[in-house]
């Protein structure tokens, strides 16, 4: 965990209001693992006050790549960055995905910007593991396929792929993979994670969820990011104990 003043290399708009930002950040690039995140100060003034958390989307040598959509003030400022601007980045943070254990197939489920952590995850999967990507979005405009393969798409408006939400799509297709020993990696809106969690628990699938919540510090000192333990005994901290949790650990 370090703070690095990272130089912006490029900012590109991938579609709709989704952006990719690439920054030179060797120290963090060396350390960071799939599913971890960084907490970024998007301005060098006190506005906005807090850092903004973003999952690591991809790593190219000494460069970090983040995928983001414009949500409010902070991401608006981030989207206005130009090459050679400096970003103050705190990371790597969080636990990251658990890639250990025996599974032949990685099933990725991402809703909207929720695909952000997966390009880097796919890169780091054991060689013998196959990948299927389920990607959902409001419209075809909202589907992000950056660096992903074997893609099944779902759109709420039916403008591309399955007409409906990505969890239903997954639920329809899963029968084709039941023979395989698979692990699910999912990230997206809370609603999506809830419905997926329900299925995963019923069928008790091996399933890891990347969750989001408001954060101040991102490294465990403010206790601002609780998520309820399924065992009833209090809360985990999303920034330290998460953001990746097995489906059976938490109440999304």
């Amino acid at each position: 965990m370090v703070i690095e003043k990272a130089r912006v290399i490029s900012l590109s708009k991938i579609s709709n209001n989704y952006y990719l930002i690439k920054v030179h950040s060797p120290l963090i690039a060396r350390e960071i693992k799939p599913g971890q995140f960084c907490n970024i100060k998007v301005s060098d003034t006190d506005f906005p006050l807090l850092r903004r958390p973003f999952s690591i989307c991809d790593v190219e040598n000494d460069n970090l790549i983040f995928a983001f959509d414009i949500h409010g003030e902070g991401t608006k400022i981030l989207a206005s960055k130009k090459p050679d601007d400096i970003l103050d980045i705190l990371g790597p943070l969080g636990n990251g995905f658990n890639l250990e254990g025996s599974y032949e197939l990685a099933i990725i489920i991402g809703g909207g910007i929720g695909i952000a952590p997966f390009p880097f995850l796919v890169k780091n999967l054991p060689n013998n593991v196959a990948v299927k990507c389920f990607i959902g979005g409001k419209t075809s405009e909202h589907l992000i396929k950056y660096n992903l393969k074997n893609i099944y798409t779902a759109t709420d408006d039916g403008s591309e792929g399955f007409h409906g939400n990505v969890v239903d799509l997954f639920n329809n297709e899963i029968k084709n993979f039941l023979t395989k020993n698979f692990r699910i990696f999912a990230c997206g809106p809370t609603q999506m994670l809830r419905s997926l969690q329900k299925i995963a628990l019923e069928k008790n699938y091996d399933c890891q969820l990347s969750v989001e919540c408001a954060m101040a510090c991102g490294f465990g000192i403010c206790q601002g990011c609780p998520i309820e333990k399924s065992n009833g005994d209090g809360y985990y901290l999303v920034c330290k104990d998460g953001p990746i949790f097995n489906a059976d650990m938490i109440i999304v």
Partner: protein
């Protein structure tokens, strides 16, 4: 030029005036990965209560203009685990440890202090009478002069260590509270704790914070905190630890000028974990520029041409 950075809070002598505020650095382990805590004045622990508290459900925090709201709900490991698990680590940091205590009854304050008084590594107590969650018959201790008087007197009666009472800013005249602290033997006051605030989502019409209201901290409250410290400084002769919206060394100096003997850094730790040392350096340079040889000379050095 060698500058004497030490400051005195009652019986307690601090290496320098920079403290880390309660609830903003937990028990020191995470922040110590960024800064050497032995270099600063000390650390105030997250409020400890007799029993563990799991704290409030999410959402606990939200950002506001130049500030943030929090309603953590005093989540803490409780007295026992604090002694068993946290103190051993805190000792290793060799920094001054100020233990912050929260309670829901006067007895609980006394009980906690009694037990913790046995811990040599604890240099002083900061009594949090000002946490919005701590109520006595629906009334906040921190807004009740008698309650603050009794807590101060009772806590003092069970310890010889320095006792700092952390005051609530949600009152008309904070100096009245500092006065009763002094009258009842308290060694110092810290000011301010957070101000009660709220924020609503206009689409769901629900509060952004599950607890409905939260405590406002950060730069937004700095002018208010400075006015409270100045009010105490002009009316009561008691050491003051200044808190509220400090982001840089200039802010820290400003707090000392209006009356603070030391300062605590809170929200800034979330944004810049190096802040404590950066601020310390900035204050040194300032003292050199102003040829101030003892930083304590800054305390209450304000110049007011009144009438």
């Amino acid at each position: 030029m060698e500058i004497d950075l030490t400051v005195q809070i009652g019986k307690l002598k601090l290496k320098n005036p920079i403290l880390l505020a309660s609830g903003t650095v937990g028990y020191g382990n995470e922040i110590s990965q960024f800064i050497d805590l032995s270099k600063i004045g000390g650390i105030v622990t997250k409020s400890i209560s007799l029993k563990p508290r799991k704290g409030n459900p999410p959402q606990r925090i939200c950002e506001t203009p130049s500030g943030m709201l929090n309603a953590i709900g005093l989540a803490n490991v409780g007295l026992e685990a604090f002694i068993k698990e946290k103190i051993p680590f805190l000792k290793k940091l060799n920094t001054t440890i100020i233990c912050n205590i929260a309670a829901s009854s006067i007895e609980e304050y006394v009980e906690c202090t009694k037990v913790l008084n046995e811990e040599e590594s604890i240099a002083a107590f900061e009594i949090n009478v000002s946490c919005p969650n701590v109520k006595e018959g629906g009334l906040e201790f921190g807004n009740n002069l008698d309650a603050v008087a009794r807590i101060t007197e009772k806590v003092k009666s069970v310890t010889n260590k320095t006792v700092i009472i952390k005051l609530s800013p949600n009152v008309s005249r904070i100096s009245d509270f500092a006065k009763v602290v002094k009258e009842n033997g308290g060694d110092a006051v810290s000011a301010i704790n957070t101000l009660v605030g709220t924020s609503f989502n206009i689409w769901t019409r629900k509060p952004k914070i599950k607890n409905i209201t939260g405590g406002l901290s950060g730069p937004a409250i700095k002018p208010i905190a400075l006015a409270k410290v100045l009010e105490i400084s002009r009316n009561v002769d008691i050491p003051i630890i200044g808190i509220g919206g400090i982001m840089n060394w200039k802010d820290a100096v400003e707090f000392m000028i209006v009356g603070a003997s030391a300062v605590q850094l809170g929200t800034v730790n979330f944004i810049n974990p190096f802040a404590a040392l950066e601020i310390l350096d900035g204050m040194k340079t300032y003292c050199e520029k102003m040829s101030i040889s003892k930083i304590s000379e800054l305390t209450a050095s304000y110049i007011l041409d009144e009438h």
